[in-house]
């Protein structure tokens, strides 16, 4: 039958691949997981790969990206070269001076031998996705595909159908992890591969954690990552994502964070030296009196493309959210920002702020920004702002008049521009690391 089709679309290709992998996937995980996979692929079949006619993909040609045929990353592929460590070999260093609990994934697989999870309290859980499906099924069933619904999202559906790897992190009640948890994702595969990752992070009531995620890859391929994060009442989470070392690997990430009452979440998304990135960040505010901070920094150059989509869904009253994204575009690069604040009918006394500021350095660089407000409650304070411009000529003149070279003056002003975002980072080592990376650009 397939031979009669003149051209197969990418959607059809994925459906066919699912048929091929079906039995392997069925073997791997318990039945309840496979059931969800099946639902997801059915859903994907209906939705199809989004085109640019889809409002959420207006500026981002996903079709073109996934048109590239790669093999799928199998879970059986567990052979790891541990010497020398991949990041040592590539000269990619971990974050200096950061005393952290390491969690390492290699080509998507969790590597216990390279991780230092022994520093975690016994009651906490860290394991790979497949293992969690078997050992912590009861717990996982509450969260897997429950926080992020694939019903209307083809990319999520696709990830859910094919997901093979990822992490499960569970921090129990009243446990506070002092040291930051550093997840290092290392991809080292000369062939291009589709990586379908699913990270599930659960903070139970009054738990506390700081998570930093970094990527190191010089290999081609596509990394589809879905993070489902549940923050229970009065729990506190900071979550930093550093998309730095991705010259060839294209990333499509989706993060949904569900917040219960009085919880606190701070996220930071820092993108630089990344070829093609699309980030979806959704906050579901399910309880009252929550506090949410979303910060982002994107620095693009060459032909790089970075797209940040965020949604803050104010479902309950008395919540506070604050979003700040800043970007600097150089060369022929393109950046997209789309932020949405949605205030439901009953979410009175909502306080929501959103700000997106951009500097375009060349005439070839492009920025498409769309900050949205959708409000159905009347007793709210919501505002947003977006600016695009260049370096202030007067400020530049001021510095030059004081004997600072143009190059240095520019660097100084750009640094000050980014300072707003960097200064919100409470982990000094991470802040320093980011500053160093920026200096190298």
């Amino acid at each position: 039958m397939t031979t009669t089709l003149p051209t197969t679309t990418t959607t059809e290709r994925f459906l066919r691949e699912f048929e091929v992998l079906k039995f392997q996937l069925q073997e791997q995980n318990p039945d309840w997981v496979f059931k969800i996979r099946n639902e997801a692929i059915q859903n994907f079949k209906q939705l199809g790969i989004p085109t640019r006619k889809n409002e959420l993909w207006k500026y981002t040609s996903l079709e073109k990206i996934v048109a590239q045929e790669y093999s799928h990353n199998g879970v059986c592929n567990r052979t790891i070269q541990t010497h020398p460590l991949p990041w040592e070999r590539d000269g990619v260093r971990a974050i200096q001076y950061l005393e952290s609990i390491h969690i390492v994934t290699y080509n998507g697989n969790y590597v216990a031998s390279l991780s230092s999870t022994d520093q975690l309290p016994k009651s906490a859980i860290v394991c790979g996705f497949s293992k969690a499906c078997e050992n912590h099924a009861e717990l996982l069933q509450k969260y897997f595909s429950k926080i992020a619904s694939f019903e209307k999202d083809a990319v999520l559906a696709l990830n859910t159908a094919f997901v093979q790897n990822g992490l499960f992190i569970y921090i129990p009640k009243n446990v506070s992890i002092e040291k930051p948890i550093h997840i290092q994702n290392i991809v080292d595969n000369k062939e291009g591969v589709y990586y379908f990752q699913r990270n599930i992070v659960v903070l139970d009531a009054r738990a506390q954690a700081n998570i930093i995620e970094t990527y190191h890859s010089s290999s081609p391929g596509i990394w589809s990552e879905v993070n489902e994060i549940s923050v229970a009442q009065e729990a506190q989470l900071t979550y930093h994502k550093l998309q730095n070392d991705l010259p060839l690997l294209k990333q499509i990430t989706h993060t949904t964070i569900s917040q219960a009452q009085k919880s606190f979440v701070h996220t930071g998304t820092y993108t630089m030296n990344a070829q093609w990135v699309r980030n979806n960040l959704h906050f579901l505010l399910e309880g009252e009196h929550t506090e949410t901070h979303l910060n982002g920094l994107y620095l693009t150059k060459g032909n790089e493309f970075v797209d940040n989509h965020s949604l803050v869904d104010h479902k309950m009253p008395n919540c506070y959210s604050n979003e700040l994204y800043k970007g600097i575009m150089n060369d022929q690069s393109t950046a997209v920002f789309n932020g949405k604040v949605f205030v439901h009918k009953d979410a009175q006394k909502t306080n929501a702020y959103q700000s997106n500021k951009n500097i375009v350095l060349t005439d070839e660089a492009k920025i498409y920004t769309k900050p949205e407000l959708e409000i159905y409650a009347d007793d709210v304070k919501c505002s947003h702002g977006a600016t695009t411009g260049q370096l202030d000529q007067e400020a530049l003149f001021y510095l030059r008049a004081r004997g600072i070279s143009e190059e240095n003056a520019r660097a100084l002003l750009l640094k000050a521009f980014m300072g707003d975002v960097l200064n919100t980072i409470k982990l000094d080592a991470l802040k320093k690391h980011l500053e160093e990376l920026i200096n190298k650009l």
Binding site: D363, Y368, T369, P371, E372, L373, I375, C382, A386, G389
Partner: protein
């Protein structure tokens, strides 16, 4: 607090005051749309062959298009085959003075509080009335003719100034632009045409009073306004419509062309029937309005007060092609009951040193939804261009919605683009402050809403500002005026 609620309820419950039907015999086309109907309309209007060709081209293109669904509005799809596409009052002979106008018609305008005599005498406004699609009366035409200004109905322009119509019609809004623009190009009934020659400053405000009268007739107006080098014109457009149960479709096209150093100021007050308090009936207002600043130092300014229509879907835009050209957009949109408005603007910066300003004020009450949707695009070659946008929303009541969807696309490093938006309600503090000083809650809300809209209202010409305030008052009855 209860008092505020009362007022809000009053606002929500107020009925549309201008609902009445004038009994004038109509010369209607049969229901439905086909090539024959397009030919019928064209023949009825004694149009030349090229005009018919244009209509047919647009119609054939329209058949290939599908209705747009992206706007933040919900409504049943209009049944395009159930609409009467042509209705003209049976008044065929040329009129020289007001005495010859059908007295029924004059009464209609009197009920609206805009009697022609008064306008003629007091404000010096030349009124080109469009009542059910055909221009009935054009005043001050002779006076304008002295200056070389052409101000007439569209069909007259087709006959008398074909070269101008041929040159400019569809140059800003081509029939391929969108679904409703194509529909309009195929079946447009009439509209206004205006040409201001080189270096002429139009001495009076030009005005058209639109009014939908016949049941079941969609109105397809077409306005074309050309300001030649160094000229200036201020154009007013305002509308009310009688109460109806079926939804009526209105798909107008407005094209503005500003040449070098020319300035066009286009003001609209729109108060079509918004439907009753259960959301039944009301006008569908799907309008394509666009202006182009063709050459250096030209300026186009849109001002609109939108209070009516069940559904408004309207984005007056400016293409800033000439260097140093300026685009402005000032808008107040009020929605009540079940009204839905998705309105905003597009500022397309193509030329160097172009500037644009967007001030949008939305007020939602009842169960209505009010959206701002705007695009600011800075093209690669639009050096040193500048945009400032401000979109504020005011919510009266807890069942309404206010939304903002700004699109900002920047492709030039020297451009400066700013956008800010706020959403809030009339604060209790403000009302308390007024109450304390002996101002009743009702007046206080009026005061606050008036102050909130002032930035836009002050852009309206004097004659119009009064009317705009009246219409605001009707829309938010009990709290304003």
């Amino acid at each position: 607090m209860t008092e505020t609620k009362d007022i809000i309820e009053e606002v929500t419950n107020s009925e549309y005051k201008y609902g009445f039907v004038t009994n004038i015999e109509s010369d209607n086309a049969p229901k439905g749309l086909s090539e024959d109907i397009v030919r019928f309309i064209s023949a009825k209007k004694n149009e030349p062959e090229w005009m018919l060709e244009y209509r047919l081209k647009a119609f054939r293109h329209w058949l290939k298009m599908t209705e747009p669904k992206w706007a933040h509005v919900n409504y049943p799809t209009p049944q395009f085959q159930d609409i009467i596409y042509y209705a003209a009052p049976k008044q065929k002979k040329e009129l020289q003075s007001l005495d010859e106008v059908d007295p029924e018609l004059l009464k209609t305008f009197e009920k609206l509080g805009i009697s022609l005599e008064e306008q003629k005498r007091l404000s010096g406004v030349a009124v080109d009335i469009v009542m059910d699609s055909v221009s009935v009366k054009t005043t001050f035409k002779e006076k304008l003719a002295e200056l070389g200004i052409i101000f007439c109905s569209f069909s007259e322009a087709v006959k008398e100034h074909p070269e101008l119509v041929k040159q400019y019609m569809g140059s800003v809004v081509p029939y391929t632009d969108n679904f409703y623009a194509a529909l309009n190009a195929a079946v447009f009934s009439d509209g206004s045409f205006c040409y201001i020659p080189k270096g002429v400053r139009c001495p009076m405000e030009l005005s058209t009073y639109f009014r939908i009268n016949e049941a079941n007739t969609g109105q397809f107006e077409r306005t074309l306004l050309i300001a030649d080098e160094g000229s200036y014109v201020s154009y007013l457009e305002g509308c009310t419509a009688p109460m109806r149960d079926e939804n009526q479709l209105h798909a107008a096209v407005v094209e503005l062309v500003a040449h070098k150093n020319a300035e066009i100021k286009y003001s609209t007050v729109q108060n079509w029937y918004p439907g009753d308090k259960n959301g039944k009936g009301g006008i569908y207002n799907f309008v394509t309005k666009r202006g182009i600043c063709l050459a250096e130092y030209s300026k186009i300014s849109w001002t609109q007060v939108e209070t009516g229509s069940a559904i408004t879907w309207k984005y007056p835009s400016v293409i800033l092609k000439g260097h140093h050209s300026v685009g402005e957009f000032y808008s107040v949109a009020v929605t009540n009951n079940f009204q839905q408005a998705d309105t905003g603007t597009k500022m397309i910066h193509l030329g160097k040193n172009t500037r644009s300003t967007i001030i949008s004020k939305g007020i939602s009450a009842g169960k209505s939804n009010n959206s701002y949707r705007g695009l600011v695009k800075i093209n690669k070659k639009a050096e040193n261009s500048r945009n400032f946008s401000q979109c504020d929303s005011l919510l009266l009541g807890d069942k309404c919605g206010a939304h903002t969807f700004p699109y900002i696309e920047v492709e030039n490093k020297s451009a400066i683009v700013e956008h800010e938006a706020t959403t809030s309600k009339v604060s209790e503090d403000q009302i308390f402050y007024c109450n304390q000083r002996g101002i009743g809650t009702e007046e206080a809300v009026a005061l606050i809403v008036n102050g909130y809209c002032k930035e836009v209202l002050k852009q309206l010409p004097m004659e119009f500002a009064v009317e705009a305030q009246k219409l605001l008052a009707v829309s938010l009855e009990g709290s304003v005026g």
